[in-house]
């Protein structure tokens, strides 16, 4: 007990990291399920269906398969870097999530530590960019160390692409930083005590003051650059399977391949979190605080899910699948009931809205993948440098001018 009371920061951080890691790893696994399901339904297919009810155990099966496959290292590969690259990619992808606040800083542990963010840095945004800017090494080194021409081409493309789009990504965000006057995530959302009001408040009493409205151009630039940064369709040139076999991870197999896969999804989650924080009001609810019924939305949503699952269990499922979906029904129903308990309902408002917004952006990502064809390499480069960069720069200049204009007129 003595140790726990003496080191409140350390203990709280370790607990939060353990819980967050568990949640994020599960989310990564089920994001793959979500992606396959959504793309399948967009293309009029069923997607994973056989492993568990509605393919719900598919991520588990995939993980086990990756664990037990033979791990092949090409004889001509640079062994050290070949092994280092996937670890680098995954660990950098997971580290960034520690900086994200999933709920308001006012919700505290009994020992005075914030519950919903692992660390609350004053220059959180800069640190997030610092970590994500290292992410390119995972891909580039994987491409180089495999000693294969396809992998090398993938690595080359990725390093050029990521340097190019990182510029636009950073500049598109600066407009928001100018409006808020801070680099701290919680202050970007909730405002500074004696400064900007962040993204709280409403226009006309019902339109939330999220940055997406004044910074709409910045938001579009950010989303485009973020898709390119995470190497997703239509910017997935580094792994373009129709040209480069599998691009930078052609030579990777078994769990090292799985690590690249997980890193890609972790990066998707990170950029979605960042978009939510910067442009969509983070953990703020879209409804005014006076609408108290919104506290019961998470519970009601889970209960609706439980009702749907129960109906589906009875009408569609047979045998073991019926049992599996029954368990899901019970979990959703129990979770929904717990979320209806007023103190908990009030406490989970922040994470609920945050998660809802992230899911919306992730759905957009998957939708893009199912809809758009891949860019050609020269199109990618000229799009990044000749369109995206000037537009985000113009957005920055106009934002700065609008902020400074009242000051200039006062003299």
């Amino acid at each position: 007990m003595g140790f726990i009371s003496q080191h409140p920061v350390l203990v709280a951080a370790v607990v939060k990291i353990a819980v967050l890691l568990f949640i994020v790893m599960t989310a990564l696994a089920y994001l793959t399920w979500l992606e396959r399901k959504v793309i399948a339904h967009i293309q009029s297919r069923w997607g994973p269906y056989n492993v568990g009810a509605h393919g719900l155990l598919q991520p588990l099966a995939d993980g086990l398969k990756f664990l037990f496959k033979e791990d092949v290292t090409p004889p001509t590969a640079d062994r050290f870097i070949y092994t280092l690259a996937p670890f680098l990619a995954l660990s950098l992808g997971l580290t960034t999530i520690a900086l994200i606040p999933f709920g308001p800083p006012s919700v505290l542990f009994p020992n005075g530590q914030q519950i919903f963010s692992v660390v609350d840095l004053n220059i959180g945004l800069l640190f997030l960019f610092a970590i994500t800017s290292m992410g390119v090494y995972g891909v580039a080194l994987a491409g180089w160390s495999s000693n294969s021409k396809y992998a090398l081409l993938g690595g080359l493309r990725s390093s050029a692409q990521m340097i190019s789009y990182e510029v636009s990504l950073t500049i598109s965000v600066v407009g928001v930083v100018l409006l808020a006057g801070t680099l701290n995530f919680n202050e970007l959302i909730g405002g500074i005590p004696h400064g900007s009001t962040g993204q709280t408040g409403y226009w006309l009493h019902f339109i939330p003051k999220w940055n997406v409205i004044p910074q709409f151009v910045g938001f579009l630039c950010y989303l485009t650059a973020a898709i390119a940064e995470t190497n997703r369709v239509p910017f997935d040139l580094p792994e373009a399977e129709t040209e480069l076999v599998a691009g930078f991870h052609t030579e990777y197999s078994a769990f090292k391949f799985a690590m690249f896969f997980m890193a890609e999804y972790a990066n998707m989650i990170t950029v979605s979190c960042l978009a939510t924080i910067l442009f969509l009001g983070g953990w703020l609810s879209p409804f005014p605080a006076s609408w108290t019924w919104q506290n019961y939305l998470p519970g009601a949503g889970l209960l609706l899910l439980a009702v749907y699952c129960a109906w589906n269990t009875v009408s569609e499922m047979r045998g073991i699948a019926r049992l599996q979906l029954g368990v899901v029904t019970l979990l959703a129903g129990g979770g929904g009931l717990i979320c209806l308990y007023p103190p908990i309902a009030a406490g989970i408002q922040g994470p609920f809205w945050f998660t809802a917004k992230i899911l919306a952006i992730l759905f957009f990502y998957i939708w893009m993948r199912a809809t758009l064809p891949r860019f050609r390499y020269d199109q990618l480069m000229s799009f990044g440098w000749k369109l995206l960069l000037p537009v985000s720069l113009a957005n920055l200049v106009i934002t700065a001018f609008v902020i400074v204009w009242p000051l200039l007129r006062k003299g």
Binding site: D78, I81, L121, N122, I123, L126, F127, F129, A130, I131, S133, M134, V136, Y137, A140, L141, G143, W144, L152, G155, L156, S159, A160, M162, I163, E166, T182, L183, N184
Partner: protein
């Protein structure tokens, strides 16, 4: 031994190890990675010195952009294992010891210089947000002219790189 001292020595060791690796490695990519290691260690030291903004810029610009450019060029040119060439005997037996002597001398004088005896307080004592705000205040008021000059420098560098990389017509 407190946390700051341990952190300092760990990062210092990493930085020196990285620099030595840079010299010993024969693959240019290994050298580049060693240099990235040095830069990361230095970024942690900047944090320890209470300069988190500089630490972040160090990683974003140096490790995340400049070194990626190096790695890109190494991959593009497919630079293989470096050829070793013979050194003259004077360089080997005279130059190396003399170099170390110079290093020792610099270290000695730095260690005993008046500024060297000042004690650095750790990152905990300074206000990080104020640090970034003060830095920008200084950059855009007192150092405005050099700042604008660097922007022109970068423009010239972009033009230079374009002219150099342009294909001959």
């Amino acid at each position: 031994m407190n946390v700051a001292i341990i952190m300092f020595f760990a990062c210092a060791l990493l930085a020196v190890a990285g620099a030595v690796l840079l010299i010993l490695a024969r693959e240019p990519i290994h050298s580049a990675l060693a240099l990235v290691l040095v830069m990361m260690a230095l970024a942690v030291l900047y944090l320890l010195l209470g300069a988190p903004f500089i630490a972040a810029v160090q990683i974003i610009v140096y490790a995340g952009a400049i070194m990626v450019l190096f790695v890109f060029v190494i991959m593009l040119l497919n630079a293989g294992v470096e050829e070793r060439t013979d050194f003259s005997k004077i360089a080997k037996f005279g130059g190396v010891p003399l170099g170390f002597l110079l290093l020792l001398e610099i270290a000695h004088w730095l260690y005993h210089s008046p500024v060297g005896t000042a004690i650095a307080n750790g990152a905990g004592s300074s206000n990080e947000a104020a640090d970034t705000a003060q830095l920008s205040e200084m950059l855009f008021r007192q150092y405005l002219f050099p700042f604008e000059a660097t922007s022109i420098l970068i423009l010239i560098a972009i033009l230079g790189a374009l002219v150099l990389a342009r294909k001959e017509q």
